[in-house]
Subunit: 341 residues, 4 copies
């Protein structure tokens, strides 16, 4: 059996741990051979490969990023893309694919499976917003990094009697904001799922200023005020046409400064959240997903994704995994609100 | 409503986070008053209390240890202990108890409940060996600390072509060894649940020495060889009659040195694993448990323990929680064995 | 003897360590009493004090920020300010001041000393740009935080074949950029002392893109291109009239993207660099400075600042300390250039 | 010019950073070629080499250990060893050696230079006990690791009202104990340079127990009591004839327990202190030493060692560097004593 492996979408701590586990498990228990496809779907599309054996994956477990490279190449938008992938797989003698990625990558995996390709998916997203798994690897690392940063910001805020707004990742789901804000004792947490009331935010900030402590507001990049409440800058775009990250944090700091008359500053954590060595939790999760992805390949359980349920690794349909986004439920936000103000 | 809070058993990162959550939630949502009992069951036994309000719990979320102190006082072994606790609670006007602790503390809580005391339990153990919860807080922190230490040891082992044996906590269950060993790429992981074969260990060590890398063996303090295989030192005791921590790690290093003719050294991580600031995962878990313990008190759901199931906080009978130890299942060890040698 | 203590200017990891050392040393060895002045020069100006004894400084050694609070109140711009400080000191029976701060705070200290106030200065700045000391505490912590962040960014840059521009603190001196860039293997380091040539920067970036690695550019916030080279955004100001931090990092990423046709992103580390627990180096340095500041008070060695020379703590004139800024010498930049490209 | 590079003695964070700097500087500025000798003096003795070019040193800056391997092979004890090294160097066309190591390695380097070999030394020791340099790389990393561990131990000690003895590295000099103890707020610090009085230690421990805090004692592995005071275990030896690390920490904990009647535990940090990624300080120091070692080679300044003086890298005679050990001066210990008890 020859198995191709690829990583798609934004990078995420734990990708290398999955790759290593897939390769070590496949070789040791089933004698598989492996082919590494470079840069997500671009690899099988263009037949761009790298060798993938025990030697190639030595030492990569603790390393962030992905030795396979990644890209956002969308196979489905490329004329004849699926056929080219099938041809390249056939040409290379690749019988099955392990596709590690987020909503987009797994969506393509699902469509390939519908067209007869043997695929097993491994879920990946910093944002933790994929259905059909309790957690995705990379999320715990991101939350730890954000929490450590907020821990540090507390003392600087207090020494200067100043509000600090910390913008963390999360365009569509507020998981990183919720967990890091809860872990680091934020006074307000703002998430995309719940448009915020700027008057309430200001009320919490002012109540905090009346103690010897200083307010820390954690805001997901995709959070936004209730309609008509705060004028947001129209989205600037960079030369590639992407809307620049950031924005809401700085905007919010300005608004708080104006309304409270106290200094407010913002910090945008940005890419630091997604790089570097994975936390132990993410390394264990990624390793277990890799091992179990190979078990799925061995069982010819294609069209499936491996995911975490409680402490078990389970298999779910790729369809189920990519249907809807997993957002923060109301009761989780209510738990966090206990500590606002 | 007046609620007493106590922490029993060995300390654990996240205890303060639970205490803070319990107090903040109870005051904000239900107007409860709180009484802090000092040093586990010694507090209610002797009526030794400290004030516990919002001010008392400020800033403790990220701090290791417990502001309430802890002890291993076993109420059940004290003549008339239960009556004294009931009398002291009555005298202080305390209607309910939140008891945060491990097997022993929760076992006492269960017996108190059987005798008419209103108790809600919160599970705590570094070792993660409590039933009826997916994880206990403190465990993730301990695994992160052990993983970081093993990461560091890899480079020193390689530079000197020497084997390193890392002894981690876990007298009855090998969870810390399993997770940290898997996370840090150990070549062998030894746990109490599975008596090891010294010949196999040596085989893995020797196979590793044939690469440019060096062997790291992670061993739980409670791991032991198959009967008759390796003579272990008879347990030395300290002046309090406790068997000294450590032992198997050093013994194993000696054995490896003798059998392979290569240098082997041991490191005993010890108390470092249980101190200091909790990981983000543990802070979130501890906070959620605290919030939900108060919901249980509010619902008069006494005799219960709050626990984690998947991503939900659930309530289980204290009996269920303390009946048996949660040990590492065979299939989890099999997953890890993929990476041995 | 009664000694007043104050902290002025931006906060900095290690301030609390100095305060603790001053108080512990003064009480233990000389039986001094202490008065804490709040929020820099505002404290003695308004007679705003807090108690400062052994109990007050317990546990603050590892904590970032300053328990005394800080501000940028400039005494010299306040009509009759100096007289009010003298009156308040007399009224409180304060015989001498230990002033912990940067260029501004120490400049005021020097002028106060010229007008008869007993002052000893302790140098403090994240930026390490104070003369008459080899290092200032806070700097090592900031460099460690920036280095860790850049370590993390390497893997994300490589996985996406993208350039990352990291903006660190340093308006007038490039010490943080130099040290963190050197420590983390940046491909280009840009500092205020040396206007950069954008063509050279692009050349280094392109040469790096030809390897399997990706370019990381570390830029001090005060760095700028050679005249006429790159149009910078005119400085936006916030509602307090301060020019917003940030700017050059994002501007540089845009320019690199346009010129190379490859993705480039920027990260502004911001306030995270100055908060949180100090590194061991900074704790030792801060503690030694505090101890020696009290020795200077005891010796009536007023008008002096304590500073680090090699491994010794020495005393220098406040005048010498505040005359000129300590910028990065050309030969240090040359050492770093070895690793560009 | 062909330059050989070797690393000798115990491993130390920063070795790889020196190797990288030596190679990058030599190739970029002077077009040198490099030969890597394996495992300290064993490499040139046996002619065991590895290629050393820009590709070979990519990515090693943040990695602990040494890609060249290390050993304690003592050239001077090998009959005809010096001649064999000279022959091997000649055979390989190696004109000069950069020897990175501690007292032993540099002592051999000095003797080789006396016999006509072109050598430049780079000082290395975790213990910071080398003369002729303010600091050695690796020391700051070790102190940071020990400080973090002690930070963690504070909370566990307090929660259990128990004394904790932390044994750190330092057989002949107490630098790591002094700095980590001072940085982490130890209540007593014991170093080899100053035989301790057990009665005084117990007095400090008891005074600490009267507060709400708990005593932490930091002890260098080479510290010992005044003559006749405390019976130490006779040194057990391992199968290689080395005296086992550890000992004084556990012995001291027992003694404290017996004398105070309170629980005391010991933690031996061991090899964790010398592995893993170097701190930013050590990476900068190691890089600068590497760059300047090549400048020394270029200047034919053989028989010299590069070292740190203040913020400058200087050259000193190898003789000066290896004559005597740099121990902790009395005044540094006096500074630390302010915080005892």
């Amino acid at each position: 059996m020859r198995v191709g492996v690829l990583t798609g979408g934004g990078d995420c701590p734990g990708l290398n741990a999955v790759i290593r586990a897939v390769v070590r498990k496949g070789i040791k228990d089933y004698g598989y051979e492996f082919v590494g496809f470079r840069d997500g779907w671009r690899g099988p599309l263009e037949g761009d490969t790298m060798p993938l054996d025990v030697e190639a994956v030595r030492g990569i477990l603790p390393r962030g990023g992905t030795i396979l490279g990644s890209s956002r190449t969308n196979l489905m938008k490329i004329e004849g893309g699926v056929e080219r992938v099938k041809d390249n797989m056939a040409g290379l003698g690749v019988d099955a694919l392990v596709a590690i990625g987020g909503e987009d990558t797994l969506g393509v995996a699902r469509q390939l499976h519908d067209r007869g390709v043997n695929v097993v998916g491994v879920p990946k997203t910093i944002d933790n917003d994929l259905n059909a798994t309790d957690y995705t690897f990379g999320f715990d690392t991101a939350v730890n990094i954000a929490t450590e940063a907020i821990d540090r910001l507390h003392t600087t805020a207090e020494s200067h009697h100043r509000a600090l707004v910390v913008e963390v990742m999360g365009r569509h789901a507020g998981w990183i904001a919720l967990h890091s804000g809860m872990a680091a004792g934020a006074n307000v947490i703002l998430i995309p799922e719940r448009p915020f009331d700027i008057d309430e935010v200001v009320k919490h900030v002012e109540s905090r200023f009346r103690t010897q402590y200083a307010p820390i507001i954690v805001v997901a990049e995709g959070a936004h005020p209730k309609e008509g409440q705060m004028e947001l800058a129209t989205g600037e775009k960079d030369s590639f046409g992407h809307v620049r990250l950031g924005g809401i944090g700085q905007r919010l700091a300005e608004e708080i400064e104006q309304r409270t008359g106290k200094e407010a500053r913002s910090v945008v954590l940005g890419h630091v959240q997604r790089g570097g060595t994975p936390s132990a939790f993410d390394r264990v999760l990624a390793t277990r997903l890799g091992v179990n992805a190979i078990e799925a390949v061995h069982d010819k359980s294609f069209g499936k994704m491996v995911g975490l349920r409680g402490t078990d690794i389970v298999r779910v349909d790729l369809a189920e995994a990519t249907d809807t986004l997993k957002t923060v439920p109301a009761e989780r936000y209510t738990e966090a609100e206990v500590f606002f103000g």
